[in-house]
Symmetry: C2
Subunit: 217 residues, 2 copies
C-alpha cells in the first residue's frame, strides 16, 4: 500500500514524463510538488527500491511498467472524481481540482469501478483531459493549439492546458467553455494575440491565453 506522498511523486513523474524527455529531473518533480529537491531524491530511492521507478543518481527518473500503471490509476481516479463533482454535485470546473487531489487517494477498487459506471463511463474530465481506463489506455483526441489554426477556420474547444483557478475563472468570465465553437478571425504577428469569434461575441485573446486552448477542427 502506497502513502499519499509516494502516490503524488508517481503522479508527478507520470505527468512530466509525457512531455518529450525520456527521463524526468529531480528539480522538475520538486517544482511540481512544491517541495525540495533533496526530499525528492529521498523519495526516488524509496520508489526505486519498490520497483516503481528506474532511477540512477544524477540521471533523472522514469516509471517502470508497474509504476506507470499505478500512476495512471491515480490520474483516472482524479479525473473521474472531477466529473462527479461537476456533473452530480454542481461544482464549476475551476473548483474541483483541489478536492480531487484529496479524493484521488481513496483506496477501493470497487469504489472507482462503481463511480465510473454511475457516471456512465466518461472519457474526458471537465477540463477536456482524457480519463485513462483500468489499463492506463485513453482516447487521445486529435487536437491543435489555437495558435496553429489558420485565420478563417473554426474549431471546437476541447481542452485547456492550464487548469489553474485563475485561468479557468478568466474563461468563465469571458464565457468560454469546453464544447464551444470558436472561429479564428485574425492573427496579430506582433504579439501573437488572436481575434476570435464565439456565439457570444468577438474578442481578442493574448498569446498567453491562446497557448492553453486546444481545439478539434
Amino acid at each position: 500500500m502506497l502513502t499519499q506522498s509516494e502516490e503524488n511523486h508517481l503522479k508527478a513523474i507520470y505527468h512530466l514524463g509525457k512531455f518529450g524527455s525520456v527521463s524526468v529531473s529531480t528539480n522538475a518533480i520538486a517544482e511540481q510538488l512544491d517541495t525540495k529537491a533533496s526530499s525528492v531524491t529521498d523519495m526516488l530511492k524509496k520508489l526505486s527500491d519498490k520497483g516503481l521507478v528506474n532511477y540512477r543518481k544524477y540521471q533523472g527518473v522514469n516509471l517502470t511498467e508497474k509504476g506507470r500503471k499505478i500512476a495512471s490509476n491515480i490520474v483516472r481516479k482524479h479525473r473521474l472524481w472531477e466529473v462527479f463533482l461537476v456533473e452530480k454535485l454542481n461544482f464549476s470546473w475551476d473548483e474541483v481540482h483541489e478536492i480531487a487531489e484529496q479524493l484521488e487517494h481513496i483506496k477501493s477498487e470497487k469504489l472507482i469501478n462503481q463511480l465510473d459506471a454511475f457516471l456512465e463511463k466518461p472519457t474526458h474530465d471537465p477540463h477536456g483531459d482524457p480519463i485513462p481506463d483500468k489499463n492506463g489506455k485513453m482516447v487521445q483526441l486529435e487536437t491543435q493549439n489555437i495558435l496553429e489554426i489558420k485565420a478563417g477556420r473554426k474549431g471546437v474547444l476541447v481542452s485547456v492546458k492550464d487548469s489553474s483557478d485563475e485561468f479557468l475563472k478568466y474563461l468563465n468570465k469571458n464565457k468560454l467553455a469546453l464544447g464551444d465553437t470558436i472561429k479564428v478571425l485574425d492573427f496579430e504577428p506582433f504579439d501573437s494575440s488572436i481575434t476570435i469569434e464565439t456565439k457570444e461575441k468577438t474578442m481578442i485573446i493574448s498569446k498567453m491565453v491562446a497557448e492553453n486552448l486546444f481545439l478539434t477542427l
Copy 2:
C-alpha cells in the same frame, strides 16, 4: 487543520462519550482505535493544547464544545458518504464502513453541503444511525431494543448497534433489513433467545444478535 489521526481520536471520544460516563478513559479510546494507551495519552495532550478536549491526567477526557462540533462533523461526513455509497453506487450496507472511514477525512465544506443536497438531505445512514446536521443536532428516533419488547408486539427494525461486516452479513443471510416489520413471538428466559416473525419466515435469534437490534413500535 487537523490530521487524520487527530480526527480519529476526536471521533472515538465522541462515540464513547455517548454511553453514560462523563469522561472517556484512555484505554477505551485505545481499544476503539486499535492502538496503545501510551499513544492515546500523547494525542490527548495535543488535543488538549488545541482546546478540543478537557483532559486531566488519570481522569479521562471529554470533548469541549469546539471538539464536539468537529467530531460530529466527521460523523456527519461518514454517514453521508455511506448513504451515497449505498444509494448511488449500489454498495451493500456491509461494504461501506471502511470506505467511509477514508472519505470522512476529505476536507471541503462545500463538498459535504452539495453531497447532502444531492442525497436529498437524508436523516439516517444505511445502518439506521442518525446523521448530525451542521450544528451536530440529529433526530433521535424513540427506539427500543428488541429484548425489551413484549411477546406479541410488532415493531420496525430501524437501527443496528454493531456495524461490523460479520454481523451485517448475518442479517443479510437471514433476510433481515432496516425497515422490516418484526413481530416478537416468544421470549426464552433460559438463554434470552427470541422467536421472531418476519415477512419471510419465523426464526430464533440469539441474545447476542438481539442486543444489536433496535425497533420503533
